[in-house]
C-alpha cells in the first residue's frame, strides 16, 4: 500500500499487509510513484479508482533502491538541508490506520555481561537503565491505558523486574532497583552471564497469555549481546509466539543477528523493520522512543472478511471524580494515608492516582483526558506537502498561517510562464481537478523533504506553513491550525462528538 | 529591572514628595516610571489596585501573596511607598489599607487608556521635514557622539597617541559635566579617568546614558532648570518613536535648553540649533526600555558600543583557558577598554591579541575596576563561538581573575549605617526582621543588638511610623 492515498482507506485495503511505520514504506512508495503517474495521465479516472489499483501495484513492485535522490541532495542549500533533516523526524506515515491503543508490552532488558561494554558511556548497561526509565515515562504519556512489564535476561535466566501494570512509577522504581536495590538484602543486579532469548520469550509469552484480546501483545527487547544461550529449540518458541499473536521488536546494540531477524520477521508478518540497531547512545534513545507510538493493527492473511469473532471489544471503564477530604484516609491501592484521591465509580474504593485498576472490584479507572491523549494516534495529522514556487505563486502566500513569519519572496516569473500556467490552470479545471490531484499524489508519495519555497501546505485547507510550525504541529500539537480556523461544512455532518477536522 | 534603571530608581527614591507629586502629573512620566523603575511584583500590585474601587486592605493583600512571598511583598511595598505611589491608610478600626496616590492612578489610567489631552507622548511635527533623516543616520550620529565621549575619557589614560584628535568633538559642556560627575579629573592639564569613570565605561550603553543623565539632573538646579521638567522630558523621550520628527513648539524653555545638551550627547538629533523639530535617537528611545530584555534591540544597543563597521554587533572576544585573549575588533575604543586590564601584545587590522596576566588585572583593580566588572564585560562581549559553552568564559579564568583581585584586596567594605541602642530585645527583633525582609541587612550581632544596613531611608520611615503609632 502506498502512502499516497490520503482519503479514507476502506476495507478494501485489508488484503495488503502493512509495511510498517518506519523507513520501509517510503522507499517503496517512491518506486511505485513513477509508474502511477504515467498511468494516471492516461486514464483520468475518478478519484477513488485511481488509487484503488495501487495496492496490488505496490505489492508487485519489489523494493527498489532510492538512488535518485543523490543528485538533488548536492544542489540543496544548507538551509534546505536543515529543513530536510527536521522533516525526517516527522512520522513517515500518517494514514489513519487502526492502531493498537490498548497495549500490553513486555520490555526485556539484556543484563548479560556484554552490557558492560564501554562503547556507550559509561557503559551499555547504565546507558540502557537510564534511557529505559525515560522510555517508561514517555510510554505511559503516550499510552495511558496500556500495561507494561519489565523482564531482564540475566545469567542464562530471565528474571522478572516488574509485574504487568499501568503505573509508570512502579516500573521506574523497579528499573532503578536493578542498580540500587531497595532492600538491603538484595544485591545489585550487575550484568552477568549470557542472555537467553528463548527464556525471555517464553516468560513474556506466559505473562501476556491472559491479556484480553482487544489489546496488543508486544515484546520489546533491548539486546546488547551477540549470542543467545537457549535451553531448547527457539524456533518452537517463535512459533508459539506467532500463534499467540505476540509481536516482537528488538533494539540491538551490536551487529545484526540472524536469529533476531527471524524472530522479528516471523512475529511481525514478514516485516523486519522492527529490528533496529542502535549504533550510539542518541540513536538508542531515539529508537526506544520510536516504539512508544502504538503499533498498527495488522490483519492476518486468512481473515479476508470480518471475522466472526472480532477481537475488538467494548470495555467497561469507570470515570471517577476527584475527592478532597479534610481528614486523611487510607487509599485502597497502596495503603497510604492521603487527603485526596479518586473514588471508584462502582465500589467507592479510594485510589490515589489514575489510571489504575480498582484494587477491589477490578474496574479500569481513568480520566476522560487519558483517553483523549490517545486520539492523535487514531486521527493523525496528515503530513504537509512541499510547495513548489509555482504553487506558492498560485496561492500567493506570504507568511505562515499560524506564526505569521514571512516566507521568502516568490521569484518573479516570466510572462511566457504565466500564460502557460494559465493555460494549464484552465486545463486542470477541465479535468476536474485531476491534474492537481495527480501532482499532489506525487508530492505525497515522496519522502518528507525540504520545500524549495520554504512553505509547506496542508492539503485539506491549502494553508501554507513554515518549517517550524510544520514540526510543531506534527510532533506536539497534532492539529492543523489552518483547517481548524475555518468552519468545515463537513464537520457538521458528524454530530458524534468526535468530529475530526484535522484531515 | 536592570542595573541601568536601578540607578535611576535610586535617584528617584531620594526625591522629596513634592517632586514626586509634580512628576506624576504627566502620564508619559508615570508610564515610564511604571515600566522600568518598579520591581516586577510592585507592578502587579499597582495594576491590581489601579481599577479597584476601594482601598486595598492590607489583610487582603497578605492573603493574595503566598506565605513564602512575604519578602518580595515587603520589598515591593517599600519601593512603592518610597516613591509615594502607594499611600497606606488606617481606618477607625486601626486596620491598614493601601491606596494608590490619586495623581499617579489618574495619570497611569490615562496612559493605558490613551485618554486625556496631556500631549505628553511627544507631538510629532505636522509639517514634513524637507531634510528628513533616516534611522541609519540617527544610529550613526548617536554612536559617534557617544563614542567620542567615551573615548575622551579612556583615550588619554591608556595613552593612545591620537586620543586628542578623536576627542576634540566633545564640547565643553559635556567635559564639564564629566568632571562634575567625577568620571574624569584634570591633572597637569591632562585628562585622566577616575574610578567612577572606569565603572562608567565598562557599563552597558543604557546604563552609561543613565549615569550621565543623573549627573546632569543633579546639576540641573545649578543651571536654573527645574528637576521635574528635566525628568519628565527624559521620560517623554523614552516613549518616542525612532525615526519620527517631533516639534519643539510644545516644549518649555528648560526643555529647549536641554535639547541642546542632549544633542551633544547624541541622545537627540537636530539639524541645526534653531530647528523647529528634533529626532530622538536610539539612545533616547531605549532610555525607558531595558535593552537587555529586548532580544531584538539588544544587538542595536550593542552596535552603539562596538564600532565594528561590518555590522556584526555580536560579541568579538575570545578567551582561552591559558589566559590568552583575542578580540576581533578594530575599534580604538574597544582596544582602549581592553588594554585597561589586558596585556595586549599584537595588533592586526581586525584583531588584537593579548594575555590576562596577574599584573594587568591587579593594575586594573588598583585603578578601581572590580573583577566582577571585568568578567561581566568579557561575558557580554564574548564571541558567539564562546557563547556555545556554559558559562561563556572558561571557569579557570574567571576564578583566577577573582583570586587575583582578592589577593590585593583583603577586606570587603560596605557603605551604610550601623543601627544600635535598641531599647528592648523585641524592638531589635522587629526592626531587624523588617530590614531583613527589605533585603538591606548586611550584618547583625544578636548578642550586642547591633546590625548594619546598606540603606536606611525605609527603616527610618518605619521607625517613625512605629513611634507615631505607639505615641
Amino acid at each position: 500500500m502506498a502512502d499516497s492515498d490520503y482519503s479514507i482507506d476502506g476495507e478494501d485495503a485489508s488484503d495488503d499487509e502493512y509495511v510498517g511505520p518506519k523507513a520501509g514504506s517510503s522507499t517503496r512508495a517512491q518506486a511505485s510513484s513513477g509508474k502511477r503517474k504515467a498511468q494516471a495521465t492516461e486514464i483520468p479516472k475518478p478519484r477513488k479508482l485511481a488509487w484503488e489499483t495501487e495496492p496490488s501495484e505496490a505489492v508487485a513492485n519489489p523494493v527498489e533502491a532510492a538512488e535518485e535522490i543523490d543528485e538533488e541532495v548536492l544542489e540543496k542549500s544548507v538551509q534546505e538541508r536543515e529543513e530536510d533533516r527536521k522533516r525526517k523526524r516527522l512520522r513517515k506515515d500518517t494514514k489513519p490506520f487502526q492502531r493498537g491503543i490498548i497495549r500490553h508490552v513486555v520490555l526485556v532488558l539484556d543484563l548479560s555481561e556484554t552490557m558492560l561494554e564501554r562503547d556507550m558511556r559509561p557503559n551499555r548497561y547504565i546507558t540502557m537503565i537510564r534511557y529505559t526509565q525515560e522510555y517508561v515515562r514517555e510510554f505511559f504519556e503516550q499510552n495511558p491505558i496500556s500495561q507494561m512489564s519489565v523482564l531482564g535476561m540475566h545469567d542464562g535466566l530471565c528474571i522478572r523486574v516488574s509485574e504487568l501494570s499501568g503505573n509508570p512509577a512502579e516500573h521506574i522504581a523497579a528499573i532503578q532497583g536493578l542498580r540500587f536495590p531497595r532492600s538491603l538484602q538484595d544485591l545489585p543486579k550487575e550484568p552477568k552471564g549470557s542472555p537467553s532469548l528463548q527464556n525471555a520469550l517464553e516468560l513474556a509469552r506466559a505473562m501476556l497469555y491472559h491479556t484480553p484480546s482487544h489489546g496488543t501483545r508486544e515484546v520489546i527487547i533491548v539486546f546488547g549481546s551477540l549470542i543467545s544461550l537457549d535451553p531448547g529449540d527457539i524456533h518452537q518458541t517463535i512459533k508459539a509466539c506467532v500463534r499467540d499473536r505476540i509481536r516482537v521488536s528488538i533494539v540491538g546494540m551490536s551487529a545484526r543477528l540472524r536469529i533476531c531477524q527471524e524472530i522479528v520477521s516471523r512475529t511481525n508478518a514478514g516485516d523486519e523493520s522492527e529490528y533496529v540497531i542502535a549504533t550510539d547512545q542518541e540513536l538508542l534513545r531515539e529508537l526506544l522512543l520510536a516504539t512508544t507510538t502504538p503499533p498498527v493493527i495488522r490483519s492476518t492473511e486468512d481473515t479476508t472478511t470480518t471475522p466472526a469473532e472480532s477481537a475488538a471489544a467494548l470495555m467497561m471503564m469507570g470515570f471517577p471524580s476527584r475527592v478532597v477530604e479534610d481528614v486523611p484516609t487510607m487509599c485502597a491501592c497502596h495503603g497510604n494515608l492521603t487527603t485526596g484521591g479518586y473514588t471508584c465509580s462502582r465500589c467507592s474504593a479510594k485510589v490515589c492516582s489514575l489510571p489504575v485498576t480498582c484494587p477491589s472490584c477490578q474496574l479500569t479507572l481513568l480520566l476522560s483526558t487519558h483517553l483523549a491523549r490517545s486520539y492523535h494516534h487514531l486521527f493523525p495529522l496528515r503530513n504537509w506537502v512541499e510547495v513548489s514556487w509555482e504553487r506558492a505563486r498560485e496561492r500567493g502566500s506570504r507568511e505562515c498561517v499560524s506564526c505569521l513569519s514571512t516566507f521568502p519572496e516568490v521569484p518573479p516569473e516570466d510572462v511566457d510562464d504565466e500564460e502557460m500556467q494559465d493555460g494549464e490552470r484552465l486545463q486542470s479545471k477541465m479535468d476536474g481537478d485531476a491534474a492537481r490531484q495527480r501532482r499532489m499524489d506525487k508530492e505525497d508519495s515522496e519522502e518528507q523533504k525540504a520545500s524549495e519555497s520554504a512553505r509547506y501546505e496542508c492539503r485539506a485547507c491549502e494553508s501554507h506553513f513554515c518549517i517550524d510550525c510544520d514540526m510543531f504541529c506534527h510532533l506536539v500539537l497534532h492539529n492543523c491550525p489552518g483547517c481548524l480556523s475555518m468552519l468545515n461544512p463537513a464537520s457538521e455532518v458528524q454530530e458524534n462528538g468526535d468530529v475530526v477536522m484535522t484531515g | 529591572m536592570s542595573a541601568s534603571s536601578s540607578q535611576a530608581l535610586e535617584y528617584l527614591e531620594l526625591l522629596p514628595r513634592q517632586t514626586h507629586t509634580k512628576l506624576y502629573e504627566q502620564p508619559s512620566t508615570v508610564l515610564a516610571i511604571f515600566r522600568c523603575m518598579l520591581p516586577h511584583l510592585a507592578k502587579t500590585i499597582v495594576m491590581a489596585m489601579l481599577y479597584m474601587p476601594t482601598p486595598f486592605a492590607a489583610s487582603d493583600l497578605d492573603a493574595w501573596f503566598r506565605p513564602d512571598g512575604k519578602r518580595e511583598r515587603e520589598k515591593a511595598l517599600a519601593v512603592l511607598e518610597q516613591l509615594h505611589i502607594v499611600v497606606p491608610q488606617q481606618d477607625a478600626h486601626r486596620r491598614t489599607s493601601y491606596e494608590l496616590y490619586p495623581g499617579f492612578a489618574r495619570s497611569l489610567r490615562q496612559a493605558l487608556e490613551g485618554s486625556g489631552t496631556h500631549r505628553s507622548f511627544g507631538v510629532p511635527s505636522s509639517t514634513p521635514d524637507p531634510k528628513r533623516v533616516t534611522v541609519a543616520f540617527l544610529d550613526e550620529y548617536a554612536r559617534n557622539q557617544w563614542e567620542n565621549i567615551l573615548f575622551y575619557m579612556v583615550g588619554s589614560t591608556v595613552g593612545l597617541a591620537n586620543a586628542g584628535a578623536l576627542a576634540q568633538d566633545v564640547n565643553e559642556g559635556t567635559k564639564a559635566l564629566l568632571r562634575a560627575g567625577d568620571f574624569v579629573k584634570l591633572a597637569h592639564g591632562r585628562v585622566s579617568i577616575t574610578r567612577a569613570g572606569f565603572t562608567f565605561v565598562l557599563q552597558e550603553t543604557n546604563a552609561q546614558v543613565w549615569s550621565l543623565l543623573i549627573v546632569y539632573l543633579k546639576h540641573a538646579p545649578q543651571l536654573s532648570m527645574s528637576e521635574t521638567d528635566v525628568l519628565s522630558f527624559l521620560f517623554m523621550l523614552g516613549s518616542l518613536e525612532l525615526g519620527q520628527d517631533y516639534t519643539t513648539s510644545t516644549l518649555s524653555a528648560t526643555q529647549l535648553q536641554m535639547l541642546e545638551d542632549l544633542s551633544a550627547f547624541g541622545i537627540v538629533y537636530r539639524s541645526s540649533k534653531d530647528a523647529l523639530t528634533f529626532y530622538p535617537t536610539r539612545l533616547a528611545v531605549t532610555l525607558t526600555s531595558d535593552s537587555g530584555a529586548l532580544s531584538s534591540s539588544e544587538p542595536l544597543a550593542k552596535s552603539l558600543v562596538s564600532s565594528n563597521r561590518d555590522g556584526s554587533a555580536q560579541g568579538f572576544i575570545i578567551v582561552e583557558t591559558n589566559y590568552r585573549l583575542y578580540a576581533y575588533t578594530s575599534s580604538l575604543l574597544q582596544i582602549a577598554v581592553l588594554s585597561l586590564f589586558t596585556k595586549l601584545t599584537t595588533r592586526f587590522p581586525n584583531l588584537v591579541s593579548g594575555k590576562l596576566t596577574k599584573e594587568s588585572i591587579t593594575r586594573a583593580v588598583k585603578l578601581g575596576i572590580s573583577s566582577a566588572q571585568i568578567l561581566s564585560y568579557l561575558t557580554s562581549h564574548a564571541h558567539p563561538q564562546m557563547q556555545k559553552t556554559q558559562p561563556f568564559l572558561p571557569p579557570t579564568v574567571m576564578d583566577q581573575i577573582r583570586l587575583w583581585e582578592y589577593e590585593g584586596e583583603r577586606v570587603e567594605t560596605t557603605n551604610g549605617f550601623l543601627m544600635k541602642e535598641f531599647s528592648s530585645e523585641s524592638e531589635y527583633r522587629d526592626v531587624l526582621s523588617y530590614a531583613e525582609s527589605l533585603g538591606v541587612l548586611v550584618w547583625k550581632s544578636d548578642a550586642k543588638r547591633l546590625f548594619f544596613v546598606d540603606r536606611v531611608e525605609q527603616i527610618s520611615l518605619y521607625l517613625q511610623k512605629k513611634k507615631n503609632r505607639s505615641g
Binding site: - | 594575555k355 596576566t357 596577574k358 599584573e359 590585593g408 584586596e409 583583603r410 577586606v411 570587603e412 567594605t413 560596605t414 557603605n415 551604610g416 549605617f417 550601623l418 543601627m419 544600635k420 541602642e421 535598641f422 531599647s423 524592638e427 526592626v431 548586611v442 550584618w443 550581632s445 550586642k448 547591633l450 548594619f452 536606611v456 527603616i459 527610618s460 521607625l463
Partner: protein, 73 residues
Amino acid sequence: MVKATRGTLVKCDASIKAMLLDIDSKHRNDFIIEELDEEHVLVKETKIAELKQRLQSMMKERLKEPESSESES
C-alpha cells in the same frame, strides 16, 4: 532610642583586623568608629580609601609575596 551611625562596614579576617587596629592606633584612632566582632569593623566612610592604602603598603612590607613568575610567555 535607636541610633543609626553612618560608616563603612569592613569585613576581613582576624589577621587583617589586627593590622587595621594597628594602623588605627598609630594614627590617633582616626579611622575606626567601632569594633564589632572578630571579623567586622566599622570605619569612617571618608577615611576608607586612606585606610585601604595604608593596609596595602603595610602588607607589602610585612608579607613577602612569592615572586610571581607570570612572564613565562
